[in-house]
Symmetry: C2
Subunit: 455 residues, 2 copies
């Protein structure tokens, strides 16, 4: 019997166990530059019991299993490096419960953050974590995603209260609770969050929601140079002003946005801010933020209060990736993801900019400036090995610079297949512990092999 | 050679390796009702290298080691259940660095939260986690402590960015980084936080700091009954009002405080609030909070803005435990610690109050109402086994009620020796995983044996 036939024995629905070439190809890549590799079979489970049955079979037969959500990972996380089964969880896409009085929701892993926000919004609530792409909650938990609102609300570890997880052999366990906090035993919820599908498959999540703020102001300012924009962002982040977003976009990206959208934004390094809360509090903070930004050399300060106008103001930030992709047809996206202590951010970005220029690489920079997390973005020619190698060389240099200053090689994208040696550089002393935990939970190494831990 | 003599071989300082009766007795108890048991030897290391040497010896000789800080745990965590070494870390009490620009501090494990706040305050910063007692940061991380400000700032897992940990065999590892966020490999920082000294000994912590808010308002109101106070707290927590503290104190406790302090507070269930931030924002929120509390039946609303007056207003909450202890000389403190989904809090407290009355137990109730975390406090006669058994019976009933409604047996005190069977009730399916992690990190079981995991 083929693997597909054996899987049909546990799933029993021809349409949900596929080895068709196009389906396999769609599950063999993410949105990054990483080399695709197709799975042998794609399975679309609809229940936790089906996930359990697939994992039991895979465990018994030593077949690799890679969980797949929206496929928007950036370090090759969902690419089946050793073939086997791609476990597509997008049919498990129900919001099971929105418990408004408890400020939480219970969701299946295939629910996207936009779908959750539609349901939460009916109760005046929202889920803040926003990693750019409309990722699934399961994928966001697996990669410990964060994004533009993390400066105010925190990332996935803060927002996941409880998980249902299927272990390698098919055992189903539940971590955490619906309480806002717990100290009951080891923090396994926090261990599965960020484990990138290598320790278990998440089949249900209980996540924190927040009240939609009554008053929101978006603002933007331009700067003479990147260094000035960066210094202003750091000053703002360290001030008493409560920002819900604090993003930096460089001049090249602004230029690409103008070309893509037909807009006429200042083609200069820019800060994008959002402040949210009660009207009185926000308006007081907006005034303080404007003064601080202007004193730091920001010009062309503009602010918006209405929802549509706010969206327009943020367009340049929201469409940065599309604009860059549009400006580079046929090229593949690669991004660095270091995060440094806040005071090191200006130096880090200066260093990265100079290094890219020295290597002659076309590179743009955006930053979640309030977290000290920045991305150097390359649009690489897949047919040019020299360009790819040069970008990788720069990534190494940027990571080394960050590690020397107490930073991390990845603020939010994770290790995947792309940062294995960087994890060793950052946490070599912890690799034996991580490997021990991996062997404890997945003794046959079937769960997303080749990711997180170097062989 | 005795154990003390062998330890002197690695520490080499007679004054810091003690088997004197009074020193041993001081390390054989915490502040709770748990049965004391003295360690065989108390060691006072001054460096990570000394901690490593002690753990290497203990690992080789299979001697139990219990890390000891301020001794303020509530579930017997620091009591050497199997004798052996009490590792008193209070000489490792240096604030190594306050990096104001990075909003973080690097501290040794014996630094108390008040000592850290003195140093952070010099930079206009503060560390918010406040578990009542003036605990050490090492102990607070080990038990995943939280407290009155958790409703706004989160507990220890949110605040610990990085750890230095000595493993059972003496190996020193470092988790996390100085960056505000990281997705570099498995979340080992979050695993060591809350592991209660059973997976390693924390020898250094990097913790997040926050800017001291420019404007703070404290407020208090009384209610006709506990249910009304509780409902008002839940409504407030679910509203858009940003509270930094939201505490409930019952009438019996207010009565004990009046007796202890000679004050004349309303002897009625009371809510204590704190709001902090920019002046405009806070004043807007105070007005909204006052309306909400008054509409919910609160009376005698009072509010204070100056530091001393705010402290006086909060006195009744801050001195609740002292007052209760003072009212019950010679009795031992026992507290439940369940945390329930927010909407379940009024029902939970009604149930607990009724159950205590039915069992004829003198019990008072205070709650971190904004988190759904409440404590039923008993002052037990150590010579009365029936009273102790009855209190334990009530604890079981309260835990069972919470677990049925998605809550947890412990919001902040941890498992220790006192909640082993409650952990099994709550997370029986996870015990094998937790035990596997324990065996991986501490194969000879020398680290705080008898805690967290049932034998």
């Amino acid at each position: 019997m083929t693997l597909r036939e054996r899987l049909l024995g546990v799933i029993g629905d021809e349409r949900r166990v596929s080895d068709g070439a196009s389906i396999r190809a769609a599950h063999g890549r993410d949105v990054s530059h990483h080399e695709p590799r197709d799975p042998d079979v794609v399975v679309f489970p609809e229940t936790t019991a089906e996930v359990s049955a697939v994992l039991a079979l895979a465990h018994a037969e030593r077949v690799p299993v890679v969980a797949f959500g929206a496929g928007t990972s950036l370090e090759g996380h969902v690419i089946p490096a050793r073939g086997g089964i791609s476990l597509d969880l997008t049919r498990m896409d129900r919001v099971l419960d929105v418990r408004a009085g408890d400020l939480l929701a219970v969701v299946q892993p295939g629910v996207t953050r936009s779908a959750l926000n539609v349901r939460a919004g009916e109760h005046g609530l929202f889920f803040p974590v926003d990693p750019g792409a409309d990722a699934t909650l399961g994928g966001m938990a697996a990669t410990n995603a964060s994004g533009t609102t993390t400066v105010r609300y925190g990332g996935m570890r803060v927002h996941v209260l409880a998980l249902e997880v299927v272990l390698a052999g098919g055992t189903v366990v539940r971590t955490g609770s619906r309480a806002a906090k717990t100290s009951a035993g080891y923090g396994l919820t926090h261990l599965f969050v960020g484990s990138e599908g290598t320790l278990g498959v998440i089949t249900e999540l209980t996540v924190r929601l927040h009240g939609i703020p009554e008053h929101v102001v978006a603002a933007r300012a331009a700067f003479a140079d990147l260094d000035g924009a960066c210094a202003a962002a750091v000053a703002l982040a360290g001030s008493g002003v409560t920002v819900t977003r604090l993003e930096l976009v460089d001049a090249d990206t602004m230029r690409a946005v103008n070309a893509y959208k037909g807009t006429a934004y200042a083609e200069a390094p820019s800060l994008f801010l959002e402040l949210a809360g009660s009207e009185a509090g926000v308006e007081g903070d907006v005034e303080a933020a404007r003064e601080l930004v202007t004193d730091a050399g920001g010009s062309g300060w503009s602010e918006e209060r209405e929802s549509e106008a706010r969206s327009r103001l943020w367009d340049a930030r929201h469409h940065a990736l599309f604009a860059l992709q549009h400006a580079s047809p046929g090229r593949l996206h690669k991004s660095t993801d270091v995060c440094v202590p806040l005071s090191e951010l200006p130096g880090a970005i200066r260093h990265a900019r100079a290094a890219a220029d020295r290597l002659g690489l076309a590179a743009t920079i955006i930053a979640h400036a309030g977290d000290g997390n920045y991305h150097v973005l390359f649009m690489l020619d897949p047919a040019d090995p020299v360009e790819r190698a040069t970008a990788e060389e720069l990534n190494d240099e940027i990571v080394a610079w960050a590690l020397q200053r107490g930073g991390t090689c990845t603020g939010e994208h994770g290790i995947g297949a792309g940062k294995l040696r960087h994890l060793t550089a950052e946490h070599g002393d912890l690799i034996p512990l991580m490997r021990g935990i991996k062997e404890l939970l997945d003794p046959h190494g079937i769960l997303n092999p080749g990711k997180v831990l170097p062989d």
